[in-house]
Protein backbone atom coordinates (compact mmCIF):
# COMPACT_ATOMS: atom_id res chain seq x y z
CA UNK A 1 0.00 0.00 0.00
CA UNK A 2 1.55 3.35 -0.98
CA UNK A 3 1.91 6.14 1.57
CA UNK A 4 2.35 9.40 -0.28
CA UNK A 5 4.30 12.01 1.56
CA UNK A 6 6.63 14.97 1.23
CA UNK A 7 10.15 15.66 2.39
CA UNK A 8 11.20 19.30 2.72
CA UNK A 9 14.87 20.13 2.92
CA UNK A 10 15.23 23.09 5.27
CA UNK A 11 18.90 23.39 4.37
CA UNK A 12 18.09 24.57 0.87
CA UNK A 13 14.77 26.36 1.43
CA UNK A 14 15.39 30.06 0.81
CA UNK A 15 11.96 31.27 1.95
CA UNK A 16 11.02 32.64 -1.46
CA UNK A 17 7.31 31.74 -1.12
CA UNK A 18 7.25 30.31 -4.65
CA UNK A 19 5.42 27.27 -3.23
CA UNK A 20 2.75 29.56 -1.77
CA UNK A 21 2.33 31.32 -5.10
CA UNK A 22 2.26 28.09 -7.10
CA UNK A 23 -0.35 26.60 -4.77
CA UNK A 24 -2.43 29.77 -5.03
CA UNK A 25 -2.17 29.81 -8.80
CA UNK A 26 -3.01 26.12 -9.18
CA UNK A 27 -5.81 25.87 -6.66
CA UNK A 28 -7.16 29.42 -6.80
CA UNK A 29 -7.88 29.53 -3.08
CA UNK A 30 -10.00 32.44 -1.82
CA UNK A 31 -8.48 35.49 -0.08
CA UNK A 32 -6.55 34.79 3.12
CA UNK A 33 -6.57 31.04 2.51
CA UNK A 34 -3.19 29.54 1.71
CA UNK A 35 -2.65 25.78 1.73
CA UNK A 36 1.12 26.09 1.36
CA UNK A 37 2.72 28.73 3.53
CA UNK A 38 6.19 29.65 4.65
CA UNK A 39 6.60 30.60 8.29
CA UNK A 40 9.57 32.72 9.20
CA UNK A 41 11.03 33.16 12.61
CA UNK A 42 14.15 34.58 14.18
CA UNK A 43 16.69 32.31 15.81
CA UNK A 44 19.57 33.38 18.06
CA UNK A 45 20.52 36.83 19.22
CA UNK A 46 22.43 39.69 17.64
CA UNK A 47 25.05 39.44 16.19
CA UNK A 48 24.31 35.76 15.49
CA UNK A 49 20.59 36.31 14.82
CA UNK A 50 19.20 34.80 11.64
CA UNK A 51 15.84 34.00 10.06
CA UNK A 52 14.70 30.44 9.60
CA UNK A 53 12.01 29.33 7.23
CA UNK A 54 9.48 26.61 7.78
CA UNK A 55 7.30 25.74 4.78
CA UNK A 56 4.04 24.19 5.99
CA UNK A 57 1.09 22.46 4.38
CA UNK A 58 -1.34 19.72 5.36
CA UNK A 59 0.67 16.89 6.88
CA UNK A 60 -1.64 14.18 5.46
CA UNK A 61 -1.21 12.37 8.76
CA UNK A 62 -1.28 8.58 8.88
CA UNK A 63 -3.62 8.94 11.87
CA UNK A 64 -5.55 12.08 10.89
CA UNK A 65 -7.63 13.51 13.78
CA UNK A 66 -9.57 15.64 11.29
CA UNK A 67 -11.03 12.54 9.64
CA UNK A 68 -12.10 10.93 12.92
CA UNK A 69 -14.02 13.98 14.16
CA UNK A 70 -15.86 14.66 10.89
CA UNK A 71 -19.52 13.85 11.57
CA UNK A 72 -20.50 13.35 7.92
CA UNK A 73 -17.61 11.48 6.34
CA UNK A 74 -16.81 14.52 4.17
CA UNK A 75 -13.22 14.29 5.40
CA UNK A 76 -11.69 11.10 4.17
CA UNK A 77 -8.35 9.44 3.60
CA UNK A 78 -7.54 7.74 0.31
CA UNK A 79 -5.75 4.40 0.28
CA UNK A 80 -2.57 6.23 -0.79
CA UNK A 81 -2.73 8.36 2.37
CA UNK A 82 -3.97 11.63 0.87
CA UNK A 83 -6.48 13.33 3.20
CA UNK A 84 -9.16 15.25 1.33
CA UNK A 85 -12.59 16.83 1.77
CA UNK A 86 -15.72 16.14 -0.23
CA UNK A 87 -17.33 19.60 -0.41
CA UNK A 88 -20.68 18.11 -1.44
CA UNK A 89 -20.99 16.36 1.92
CA UNK A 90 -19.29 18.88 4.25
CA UNK A 91 -21.75 20.70 6.54
CA UNK A 92 -19.25 23.35 7.66
CA UNK A 93 -19.24 22.39 11.36
CA UNK A 94 -15.49 23.10 11.55
CA UNK A 95 -14.83 20.19 13.91
CA UNK A 96 -11.97 19.14 11.63
CA UNK A 97 -10.50 22.66 11.72
CA UNK A 98 -10.56 22.52 15.52
CA UNK A 99 -9.08 19.02 15.64
CA UNK A 100 -6.12 19.73 13.34
CA UNK A 101 -3.14 20.57 15.57
CA UNK A 102 -1.44 22.26 12.61
CA UNK A 103 -4.46 24.41 11.64
CA UNK A 104 -4.20 23.36 8.04
CA UNK A 105 -7.92 23.35 7.42
CA UNK A 106 -9.60 26.47 6.15
CA UNK A 107 -13.21 27.54 6.35
CA UNK A 108 -14.69 29.32 3.34
CA UNK A 109 -16.80 31.98 5.02
CA UNK A 110 -20.15 32.68 3.35
CA UNK A 111 -19.65 35.60 0.93
CA UNK A 112 -15.91 35.02 0.59
CA UNK A 113 -16.15 33.69 -2.96
CA UNK A 114 -17.86 36.84 -4.18
CA UNK A 115 -15.27 39.06 -2.51
CA UNK A 116 -12.10 38.31 -4.43
CA UNK A 117 -8.78 40.01 -3.96
CA UNK A 118 -9.72 43.30 -5.56
CA UNK A 119 -12.57 45.71 -5.04
CA UNK A 120 -15.50 45.28 -7.39
CA UNK A 121 -16.17 42.26 -9.58
CA UNK A 122 -14.14 39.07 -9.50
CA UNK A 123 -11.40 38.76 -12.07
CA UNK A 124 -11.83 36.16 -14.83
CA UNK A 125 -9.26 33.98 -13.06
CA UNK A 126 -11.16 34.19 -9.77
CA UNK A 127 -14.48 33.43 -11.48
CA UNK A 128 -13.03 30.27 -13.02
CA UNK A 129 -11.05 29.07 -10.02
CA UNK A 130 -13.63 29.76 -7.32
CA UNK A 131 -16.08 27.37 -9.01
CA UNK A 132 -14.13 24.58 -7.35
CA UNK A 133 -14.98 25.78 -3.84
CA UNK A 134 -18.23 25.89 -1.90
CA UNK A 135 -18.99 28.60 0.63
CA UNK A 136 -19.69 27.37 4.15
CA UNK A 137 -17.43 24.35 3.80
CA UNK A 138 -13.91 23.49 4.89
CA UNK A 139 -11.14 23.15 2.31
CA UNK A 140 -7.56 21.97 2.53
CA UNK A 141 -4.42 20.93 0.68
CA UNK A 142 -4.94 17.60 -1.06
CA UNK A 143 -1.37 17.23 -2.35
CA UNK A 144 -2.81 18.38 -5.73
CA UNK A 145 -4.42 14.95 -6.02
CA UNK A 146 -5.83 15.73 -9.48
CA UNK A 147 -2.25 16.20 -10.68
CA UNK A 148 -0.95 13.22 -8.70
CA UNK A 149 -3.61 10.99 -10.27
CA UNK A 150 -2.27 12.03 -13.68
CA UNK A 151 1.27 11.09 -12.68
CA UNK A 152 2.32 14.69 -12.04
CA UNK A 153 3.89 16.18 -8.92
CA UNK A 154 2.12 18.67 -6.63
CA UNK A 155 2.42 22.27 -7.83
CA UNK A 156 4.51 23.36 -4.86
CA UNK A 157 7.07 20.62 -5.57
CA UNK A 158 7.57 21.37 -9.25
CA UNK A 159 7.77 25.11 -8.59
CA UNK A 160 10.34 25.14 -5.78
CA UNK A 161 13.41 26.80 -7.37
CA UNK A 162 15.75 25.37 -4.73
CA UNK A 163 14.34 21.85 -5.11
CA UNK A 164 13.71 21.77 -1.39
CA UNK A 165 10.52 19.77 -1.81
CA UNK A 166 10.45 16.07 -2.64
CA UNK A 167 7.31 14.03 -3.12
CA UNK A 168 6.88 10.29 -3.28
CA UNK A 169 5.93 7.04 -1.63
CA UNK A 170 7.17 6.88 1.94
CA UNK A 171 6.25 3.20 2.14
CA UNK A 172 8.58 2.28 -0.71
CA UNK A 173 12.14 1.89 0.64
CA UNK A 174 13.54 2.50 -2.83
CA UNK A 175 11.75 5.82 -3.36
CA UNK A 176 13.67 9.09 -3.43
CA UNK A 177 11.88 10.39 -0.32
CA UNK A 178 12.67 7.23 1.66
CA UNK A 179 16.33 7.49 0.65
CA UNK A 180 16.46 11.11 1.78
CA UNK A 181 14.96 10.19 5.13
CA UNK A 182 17.53 7.43 5.57
CA UNK A 183 20.47 9.64 4.64
CA UNK A 184 19.60 12.81 6.52
CA UNK A 185 18.40 13.69 9.98
CA UNK A 186 14.74 14.62 9.87
CA UNK A 187 11.79 15.56 12.03
CA UNK A 188 8.04 16.00 11.81
CA UNK A 189 5.88 18.71 13.35
CA UNK A 190 4.34 18.03 16.76
CA UNK A 191 5.28 14.37 16.99
CA UNK A 192 3.71 14.30 20.48
CA UNK A 193 0.29 14.85 18.91
CA UNK A 194 0.38 11.23 17.74
CA UNK A 195 -0.85 12.03 14.25
CA UNK A 196 2.13 10.51 12.36
CA UNK A 197 2.58 13.31 9.82
CA UNK A 198 3.63 12.35 6.28
CA UNK A 199 5.43 15.65 5.71
CA UNK A 200 9.00 15.31 6.95
CA UNK A 201 11.62 18.02 7.32
CA UNK A 202 15.32 17.49 6.72
CA UNK A 203 17.26 19.48 9.28
CA UNK A 204 19.10 22.59 8.15
Amino acid sequence: MPRLGMVIDLKVCVGCHACTSACKATNGTPPDIMFARVHEHEVGEYPQARREFLPVLCNHCADPPCVDVCPTGASYQRPDGIVAVNSDVCIGCRSCATACPYENRHYVEPGLLSKGYFDGDLTLYERVKYKRWTEGTVIKCDFCMDRVDQGLLPACVVTCPAEARHFGDLADPASHVSQLLRERESFTLLPDAGTQPCVHYLKA
Binding site: L54, P65, V69, C70, T72, C93, C100, P101, E103, A193
Partner: protein, 300 residues
Protein backbone atom coordinates in the same frame (compact mmCIF):
# COMPACT_ATOMS: atom_id res chain seq x y z
CA UNK B 1 -2.43 38.51 9.98
CA UNK B 2 -4.57 35.56 10.92
CA UNK B 3 -3.47 33.79 14.12
CA UNK B 4 -3.28 30.48 12.24
CA UNK B 5 -0.36 31.72 10.18
CA UNK B 6 1.92 31.78 13.23
CA UNK B 7 4.25 29.05 14.41
CA UNK B 8 3.81 29.83 18.11
CA UNK B 9 0.84 29.19 20.36
CA UNK B 10 -2.42 29.82 18.52
CA UNK B 11 -5.84 29.99 20.10
CA UNK B 12 -8.86 28.02 18.98
CA UNK B 13 -10.77 30.03 16.40
CA UNK B 14 -13.34 27.69 14.80
CA UNK B 15 -15.37 27.27 18.03
CA UNK B 16 -16.78 30.62 19.19
CA UNK B 17 -19.85 32.08 20.87
CA UNK B 18 -22.42 29.99 18.98
CA UNK B 19 -20.84 26.74 20.17
CA UNK B 20 -20.78 28.07 23.73
CA UNK B 21 -24.45 28.99 23.43
CA UNK B 22 -25.26 25.52 22.18
CA UNK B 23 -23.18 23.87 24.92
CA UNK B 24 -24.99 25.90 27.62
CA UNK B 25 -28.43 25.48 26.04
CA UNK B 26 -28.27 21.74 25.52
CA UNK B 27 -26.63 21.01 28.88
CA UNK B 28 -28.93 23.20 30.96
CA UNK B 29 -32.00 22.12 28.96
CA UNK B 30 -31.29 18.43 29.52
CA UNK B 31 -30.60 19.03 33.22
CA UNK B 32 -33.85 20.98 33.55
CA UNK B 33 -35.70 18.00 32.11
CA UNK B 34 -34.13 15.69 34.69
CA UNK B 35 -35.07 18.12 37.48
CA UNK B 36 -38.61 18.27 36.09
CA UNK B 37 -38.94 14.49 36.37
CA UNK B 38 -37.71 14.57 39.96
CA UNK B 39 -39.98 17.49 40.93
CA UNK B 40 -42.87 16.43 38.65
CA UNK B 41 -43.17 19.93 37.20
CA UNK B 42 -44.26 19.96 33.58
CA UNK B 43 -43.39 23.65 33.09
CA UNK B 44 -39.74 22.96 33.95
CA UNK B 45 -39.67 20.11 31.42
CA UNK B 46 -41.09 22.44 28.75
CA UNK B 47 -38.47 25.06 29.64
CA UNK B 48 -35.79 22.37 29.30
CA UNK B 49 -36.99 21.50 25.81
CA UNK B 50 -37.02 25.22 24.93
CA UNK B 51 -33.38 25.56 26.07
CA UNK B 52 -32.35 22.66 23.84
CA UNK B 53 -34.28 24.15 20.90
CA UNK B 54 -32.32 27.39 21.35
CA UNK B 55 -29.10 25.33 21.46
CA UNK B 56 -29.99 23.56 18.22
CA UNK B 57 -30.79 26.90 16.56
CA UNK B 58 -27.41 28.27 17.67
CA UNK B 59 -25.71 25.17 16.32
CA UNK B 60 -27.61 25.42 13.05
CA UNK B 61 -26.52 29.07 12.68
CA UNK B 62 -22.94 27.96 13.20
CA UNK B 63 -23.09 25.44 10.34
CA UNK B 64 -21.82 26.63 6.99
CA UNK B 65 -24.28 24.35 5.18
CA UNK B 66 -27.25 24.01 7.58
CA UNK B 67 -29.48 22.30 4.99
CA UNK B 68 -27.10 19.35 5.05
CA UNK B 69 -27.23 19.14 8.84
CA UNK B 70 -29.02 15.79 8.74
CA UNK B 71 -25.78 14.23 7.51
CA UNK B 72 -24.19 14.89 10.90
CA UNK B 73 -25.20 11.47 12.24
CA UNK B 74 -23.20 9.54 9.63
CA UNK B 75 -20.07 8.84 11.68
CA UNK B 76 -21.21 7.51 15.04
CA UNK B 77 -18.22 5.21 15.38
CA UNK B 78 -15.61 7.99 15.50
CA UNK B 79 -17.22 11.43 15.74
CA UNK B 80 -18.52 12.96 18.97
CA UNK B 81 -20.42 15.52 16.89
CA UNK B 82 -22.32 12.63 15.30
CA UNK B 83 -23.07 11.07 18.67
CA UNK B 84 -24.12 14.45 20.09
CA UNK B 85 -26.41 15.13 17.15
CA UNK B 86 -28.07 11.74 17.62
CA UNK B 87 -28.69 12.10 21.36
CA UNK B 88 -29.84 15.73 21.04
CA UNK B 89 -32.28 14.69 18.31
CA UNK B 90 -33.42 11.74 20.43
CA UNK B 91 -33.83 13.98 23.46
CA UNK B 92 -35.86 16.59 21.58
CA UNK B 93 -38.18 13.97 20.11
CA UNK B 94 -38.74 11.93 23.27
CA UNK B 95 -38.87 14.89 25.68
CA UNK B 96 -41.32 16.83 23.50
CA UNK B 97 -43.60 13.80 23.15
CA UNK B 98 -43.30 13.13 26.86
CA UNK B 99 -44.31 16.73 27.71
CA UNK B 100 -47.24 16.59 25.29
CA UNK B 101 -48.38 13.20 26.60
CA UNK B 102 -48.20 14.41 30.21
CA UNK B 103 -50.09 17.60 29.33
CA UNK B 104 -52.82 15.57 27.60
CA UNK B 105 -53.11 13.26 30.59
CA UNK B 106 -51.81 10.13 28.87
CA UNK B 107 -50.67 7.60 31.43
CA UNK B 108 -49.27 4.11 31.46
CA UNK B 109 -46.52 2.32 29.63
CA UNK B 110 -46.19 4.74 26.71
CA UNK B 111 -45.52 7.72 28.96
CA UNK B 112 -43.08 5.74 31.09
CA UNK B 113 -41.15 4.63 28.03
CA UNK B 114 -41.04 8.15 26.61
CA UNK B 115 -39.88 9.56 29.93
CA UNK B 116 -37.22 6.86 30.27
CA UNK B 117 -35.95 7.50 26.74
CA UNK B 118 -35.89 11.27 27.36
CA UNK B 119 -34.07 10.81 30.67
CA UNK B 120 -31.44 8.56 29.10
CA UNK B 121 -30.89 11.03 26.26
CA UNK B 122 -30.82 13.93 28.75
CA UNK B 123 -27.93 12.37 30.68
CA UNK B 124 -26.02 11.78 27.44
CA UNK B 125 -26.75 15.33 26.22
CA UNK B 126 -25.36 16.71 29.49
CA UNK B 127 -22.17 14.69 29.03
CA UNK B 128 -21.76 15.45 25.33
CA UNK B 129 -20.13 18.91 25.29
CA UNK B 130 -17.40 18.00 27.77
CA UNK B 131 -16.63 14.75 25.96
CA UNK B 132 -16.57 16.53 22.61
CA UNK B 133 -13.97 19.03 23.83
CA UNK B 134 -12.00 16.26 25.52
CA UNK B 135 -11.82 14.37 22.22
CA UNK B 136 -9.98 17.27 20.53
CA UNK B 137 -6.43 16.02 21.20
CA UNK B 138 -4.86 19.05 19.53
CA UNK B 139 -5.90 21.32 22.41
CA UNK B 140 -4.42 19.96 25.62
CA UNK B 141 -6.27 22.51 27.76
CA UNK B 142 -9.49 20.62 26.99
CA UNK B 143 -7.99 17.25 27.84
CA UNK B 144 -8.39 15.11 30.94
CA UNK B 145 -11.49 14.06 32.81
CA UNK B 146 -11.86 17.35 34.73
CA UNK B 147 -13.54 19.26 31.92
CA UNK B 148 -15.72 16.30 30.94
CA UNK B 149 -17.04 16.23 34.53
CA UNK B 150 -17.18 20.01 35.01
CA UNK B 151 -19.50 20.69 32.06
CA UNK B 152 -22.38 18.43 33.22
CA UNK B 153 -21.95 19.69 36.79
CA UNK B 154 -22.26 23.30 35.62
CA UNK B 155 -25.38 22.29 33.66
CA UNK B 156 -26.90 20.68 36.76
CA UNK B 157 -26.09 23.66 38.99
CA UNK B 158 -27.66 26.11 36.52
CA UNK B 159 -30.76 23.95 36.05
CA UNK B 160 -31.22 23.65 39.80
CA UNK B 161 -30.96 27.41 40.42
CA UNK B 162 -33.43 28.11 37.60
CA UNK B 163 -35.80 25.50 39.04
CA UNK B 164 -35.51 27.06 42.51
CA UNK B 165 -36.51 30.41 41.04
CA UNK B 166 -39.51 28.92 39.23
CA UNK B 167 -40.84 26.35 41.64
CA UNK B 168 -42.55 28.65 44.20
CA UNK B 169 -44.88 29.73 41.37
CA UNK B 170 -45.71 26.23 40.17
CA UNK B 171 -48.42 23.84 41.44
CA UNK B 172 -47.34 22.19 44.67
CA UNK B 173 -44.76 24.94 45.26
CA UNK B 174 -41.45 24.62 47.01
CA UNK B 175 -42.91 22.41 49.75
CA UNK B 176 -42.80 19.45 47.42
CA UNK B 177 -39.10 19.81 46.63
CA UNK B 178 -37.23 20.96 49.73
CA UNK B 179 -34.10 19.20 48.46
CA UNK B 180 -33.55 21.66 45.59
CA UNK B 181 -31.58 24.28 47.54
CA UNK B 182 -29.20 21.77 49.24
CA UNK B 183 -28.73 19.99 45.89
CA UNK B 184 -27.89 23.29 44.15
CA UNK B 185 -25.39 24.20 46.89
CA UNK B 186 -23.68 20.81 46.61
CA UNK B 187 -23.58 21.11 42.81
CA UNK B 188 -22.04 24.59 42.98
CA UNK B 189 -19.38 23.38 45.40
CA UNK B 190 -18.64 20.42 43.12
CA UNK B 191 -18.43 22.80 40.13
CA UNK B 192 -15.85 24.84 42.00
CA UNK B 193 -13.86 21.76 43.06
CA UNK B 194 -13.90 20.00 39.68
CA UNK B 195 -13.18 23.18 37.69
CA UNK B 196 -10.25 23.91 40.01
CA UNK B 197 -9.05 20.31 39.70
CA UNK B 198 -9.21 20.55 35.90
CA UNK B 199 -6.99 23.61 35.95
CA UNK B 200 -4.58 22.29 38.58
CA UNK B 201 -4.10 18.91 36.91
CA UNK B 202 -3.42 20.33 33.46
CA UNK B 203 -0.61 18.84 31.48
CA UNK B 204 2.25 21.35 31.42
CA UNK B 205 2.89 22.68 27.93
CA UNK B 206 3.26 25.97 26.08
CA UNK B 207 -0.36 25.73 24.98
CA UNK B 208 -1.86 25.10 28.42
CA UNK B 209 0.32 27.85 29.93
CA UNK B 210 -0.92 30.28 27.30
CA UNK B 211 -4.51 29.24 28.03
CA UNK B 212 -4.06 29.83 31.75
CA UNK B 213 -2.31 33.16 31.14
CA UNK B 214 -5.22 34.26 29.04
CA UNK B 215 -7.77 33.19 31.65
CA UNK B 216 -6.02 34.63 34.68
CA UNK B 217 -4.10 37.60 33.31
CA UNK B 218 -5.19 38.12 29.72
CA UNK B 219 -8.27 39.37 27.94
CA UNK B 220 -10.51 36.66 29.45
CA UNK B 221 -9.70 37.39 33.09
CA UNK B 222 -12.84 39.46 33.73
CA UNK B 223 -15.06 36.87 32.09
CA UNK B 224 -13.39 33.95 33.86
CA UNK B 225 -12.71 35.33 37.32
CA UNK B 226 -15.68 37.66 37.69
CA UNK B 227 -18.16 36.05 35.33
CA UNK B 228 -17.56 32.38 36.09
CA UNK B 229 -16.17 32.77 39.61
CA UNK B 230 -18.13 35.59 41.22
CA UNK B 231 -21.41 35.65 39.24
CA UNK B 232 -21.43 31.93 38.45
CA UNK B 233 -20.46 30.42 41.80
CA UNK B 234 -19.86 32.86 44.67
CA UNK B 235 -23.03 34.99 44.43
CA UNK B 236 -25.43 32.04 43.83
CA UNK B 237 -23.74 30.14 46.66
CA UNK B 238 -24.08 33.04 49.12
CA UNK B 239 -27.69 33.66 48.03
CA UNK B 240 -28.74 30.02 48.28
CA UNK B 241 -27.03 29.43 51.63
CA UNK B 242 -28.72 32.57 53.01
CA UNK B 243 -32.12 31.47 51.70
CA UNK B 244 -31.63 27.91 52.94
CA UNK B 245 -30.70 29.08 56.44
CA UNK B 246 -33.12 31.92 56.96
CA UNK B 247 -36.18 31.15 54.86
CA UNK B 248 -38.71 28.32 55.03
CA UNK B 249 -39.51 26.65 51.65
CA UNK B 250 -43.10 27.94 51.74
CA UNK B 251 -41.86 31.55 52.05
CA UNK B 252 -39.61 31.40 48.97
CA UNK B 253 -42.27 33.12 46.86
CA UNK B 254 -41.61 36.26 48.94
CA UNK B 255 -38.02 36.29 47.70
CA UNK B 256 -38.92 36.18 44.00
CA UNK B 257 -36.52 38.94 42.95
CA UNK B 258 -33.65 37.42 44.85
CA UNK B 259 -34.33 33.98 43.35
CA UNK B 260 -34.54 35.47 39.84
CA UNK B 261 -31.28 37.37 40.42
CA UNK B 262 -29.55 34.18 41.62
CA UNK B 263 -30.78 32.22 38.59
CA UNK B 264 -29.73 34.92 36.11
CA UNK B 265 -26.36 35.36 37.81
CA UNK B 266 -25.79 31.60 37.61
CA UNK B 267 -26.89 31.43 33.97
CA UNK B 268 -24.49 34.23 33.04
CA UNK B 269 -21.73 32.60 35.11
CA UNK B 270 -22.26 29.26 33.40
CA UNK B 271 -22.01 30.92 29.99
CA UNK B 272 -18.93 32.91 31.06
CA UNK B 273 -17.21 29.75 32.32
CA UNK B 274 -17.81 27.72 29.18
CA UNK B 275 -17.10 30.60 26.83
CA UNK B 276 -13.77 31.39 28.45
CA UNK B 277 -12.80 27.70 28.46
CA UNK B 278 -13.71 27.34 24.77
CA UNK B 279 -11.99 30.57 23.69
CA UNK B 280 -8.85 29.94 25.76
CA UNK B 281 -8.16 26.55 24.15
CA UNK B 282 -4.74 26.81 22.51
CA UNK B 283 -2.72 24.77 20.02
CA UNK B 284 0.86 23.87 20.79
CA UNK B 285 3.60 25.69 18.85
CA UNK B 286 4.40 23.73 15.72
CA UNK B 287 8.10 24.47 16.21
CA UNK B 288 9.11 23.40 19.73
CA UNK B 289 11.61 26.22 20.18
CA UNK B 290 9.10 28.90 19.20
CA UNK B 291 8.23 31.29 21.99
CA UNK B 292 4.60 31.78 22.92
CA UNK B 293 5.15 35.45 23.63
CA UNK B 294 3.57 36.58 20.38
CA UNK B 295 0.30 34.74 20.92
CA UNK B 296 -0.04 35.76 24.56
CA UNK B 297 0.65 39.41 23.86
CA UNK B 298 -1.84 39.32 20.98
CA UNK B 299 -4.48 37.95 23.33
CA UNK B 300 -3.89 40.78 25.81
Amino acid sequence: MNDKYKTGVRFNHPFRILETLSFVGEGVGAALFIVSVLTRQLAIAALGVAFVVVAVLALRTHLGQPTRGWRAVSRLSTSWVSRGTLVIGGFLASATLSVIATYMGVNGLLLSMLALAALTCAVLVMLYAGLLLRSIRAIRFWGGTGLALAFPLHSAATALTISIALIPWLPGGANRSPWLIPAAIICLLLCLAISAAHIMRLESSAGTRASMNRLLAGDLRFQFLWGAGIFGVALPLIGLVTLGLFMAPEDLANAAWLLAAIALSRLYGDFAYRHSIVIAGAYEPIMPQTSNRIAVSAAK
